[in-house]
Subunit: 344 residues, 2 copies
DNA sequence: AAAGCCTTAGGTAGCGTTTACTCCGCGCTG
DNA sequence: CAGCGCGGAGTAAACGCTACCTAAGGCTTT
């Protein structure tokens, strides 16, 4: 059928536009236009060219296209991990967030470029931006990088950050009402008669700070004095939380509830407490934060502060695309709600 | 300090190598070499150039680099979703796999490009390969695309597929011993006195087929006749499995155990059975497959066939990089083991 | 019938790198 | 002292594409 064409094809897999042009007997620019669906080329010719390209398995080389067009049809999703504390992309919260974002992004026919970043070396963000590998950036968690983010925000628009608002932030922020979450959790625990409420987690990132502030606000509302002995630091991993809770138990400090920074920490606390013979919620009530999938499946099911990640992801991607289109978009804080299950 | 340099810089954000060259008073090629650490350039000059680049926030444009070098330092992770059955990247199994792969890939300083593909349109794989956006491809699950994969395997080397071996497969395959998994599960159930064992799942993808074959082999070993009425089809989503189990209950068919294709399905079955008043494992024992994180947290904890995803991901990435280096690497099937928890 | 206009198509200049090739000057050897 | 090798740096040709500019016809318009 098209035997003459075949002779013209170079080795498979390195076909370029010029090859298709030769086969079709037209110029390169005509092929480019035809494949782009440009109506400058009459429909019949366009279809012919597309047909030839298809039967030969030709596809536009994106590296070249990206260079020429100065865009990549790709969104970078960045996971900043501070301290090299061993937290990985496999962390359930990140994973859920990444999944949701990926669903939203692919729905818009963009690709997702996943970046794990060990923050610390200054200029990491500039490096990512200037490499021009993505048309926009989604940053999951400010970690301790508020200043770095603020630094680029002035000149680099297509960026949306998940996290908590810090006075003077100039980047576009999407997040939950962490303060209210902390307050809600405490008020729920207090209503169930708890008075000695542990706060489990590292208080470094803005989200953590605000949850902690909410915790203190909740205590104050209830007229309970804040006791520093009940603040138990723990990194973001299961293992770390387990160690922290074991330490707490060993210390002999009395407590009847745990409010954890995240569900991952809460679940670790739950199992550690149970293994130590404590009944949950009988002896100790446990409240988490996030409402990851696991939360509803633990034994007992975890009471937690729910962040609607699906909505959050949708908003982030929405705002990002508006920014990429030149709009300036406002930061957005979504409400949280307490999901009462059985652990508290 | 370097005030004359500043005057030469164009608007921030679009610095190119030529600008750095001008600032340093050398040619473009010298800058390129210096930034690449090429020892042709004496160390002092190299350091000077790097310094200038750094203070001005210059970073090599990857689009251009990719085009010139014909490589991207990027691995494509592809999630083929058949049937448009609503399964999303947010599916726990995919997510866990993606997380593990991402950890392995970023460890090697490559980036991860996430691709959701609705298989169906022929040529989807060619399109991805020819777009030259990634240096290698990791495909999570053969789905129904065995032929498409086999088609490109001959000419496209850097590709590794997660799934189950099919006679005559020519692509590099990594997976678990699905047949043995099915057999193990049945043998475990039989040892606990179960005789009417349901198989819950779609029997379309190779992995499913082999798990099903293992199920039949297990029955045969135990001298139990295979009963087609106990094969309950269900797509890969929670919702679908729930419907399927409800249908099963309504049908009145007697059964005392469920072996599900995946943990997601098993967990859906678990809750559906409980909601219908069945006790697990009292009335019905439930066994899953995969051992996703959720499995150990359900009530009761799920007995399941464990696939070691961490090891699997490591092997996949390992083999892929060997293939990218030109080695040909063998397919690998990892053993599975039964994790007995309380649901069976 | 000359002048314009629209349609259709090609030529070609980049996009920003990397690297093979060339060139220059200096210290050595024979 | 001619010639040679070599360290050091520049020139220019790709990499594969898109889009601006130009041009050739075949129309309509005055």
């Amino acid at each position: 059928m098209d035997s003459p064409d075949l002779a013209l094809a170079p080795e498979r897999g390195r076909l370029k536009m010029a090859d298709i042009a030769r086969m079709a007997g037209v110029s390169i620019s005509t092929v480019s236009r035809a494949l782009a669906g440009n109506t400058l080329i009459p429909k019949t010719l366009r279809d012919q060219i597309v047909e030839i390209a298809q039967t030969h398995g030709y596809v536009v080389n994106q590296s070249a296209r990206n260079l020429r067009l100065r865009k990549t049809d790709t969104i970078g999703v960045i996971i900043p991990l501070a301290h090299e504390a061993g937290q990985m992309i496999s962390d359930p919260f990140f994973l859920e967030m990444v999944g949701r974002l990926a669903d939203e992004i692919t729905r818009r026919d963009y690709l997702v470029l996943l970046n794990k970043v060990i923050t610390g070396e200054p200029g990491w963000l500039d490096r990512i931006i200037q490499s021009h590998r993505a048309d926009g950036l989604l940053i999951i968690g400010q970690s301790t990088q508020h200043d770095a983010l603020n630094g680029v925000a002035a000149t680099y628009r297509p960026m949306v950050v998940w996290g908590a608002p810090i006075p003077g932030h100039r980047y576009c922020l999407v997040g939950s009402d962490n303060h209210e979450g902390g307050r809600l959790a405490v008020s729920h625990l207090v209503a169930r008669g708890r008075r000695r409420i542990v706060f489990l987690g590292e208080i470094d990132a803005p989200e953590a700070i605000q949850r902690f502030e909410g915790y203190r606000a909740g205590l104050m509302e209830a007229g309970i004095a804040f006791d520093p002995a009940l603040v138990i630091p723990s990194h973001y991993t299961r293992e770390d939380a387990q160690g922290a809770v074991e330490g707490l138990l060993a210390s002999g400090v009395a407590f009847d509830a745990v409010l954890a920074f995240s569900d991952v920490l809460a679940l670790a606390a739950l199992t550690t407490l149970q293994r130590a013979g404590k009944r949950v919620p009988g002896d100790v009530a446990v409240v988490g934060f996030d409402d990851i999938l696991l939360a509803q499946h633990s034994t007992p099911p975890l009471t937690t502060i729910r962040q609607d990640l699906e909505a959050g992801a949708r908003i982030m991607v929405d705002l990002l695309f508006r920014r990429m289109a030149g709009d300036s978009s406002p930061s957005t804080i979504s409400p949280v709600r307490l999901v009462a299950r059985e652990s508290a």
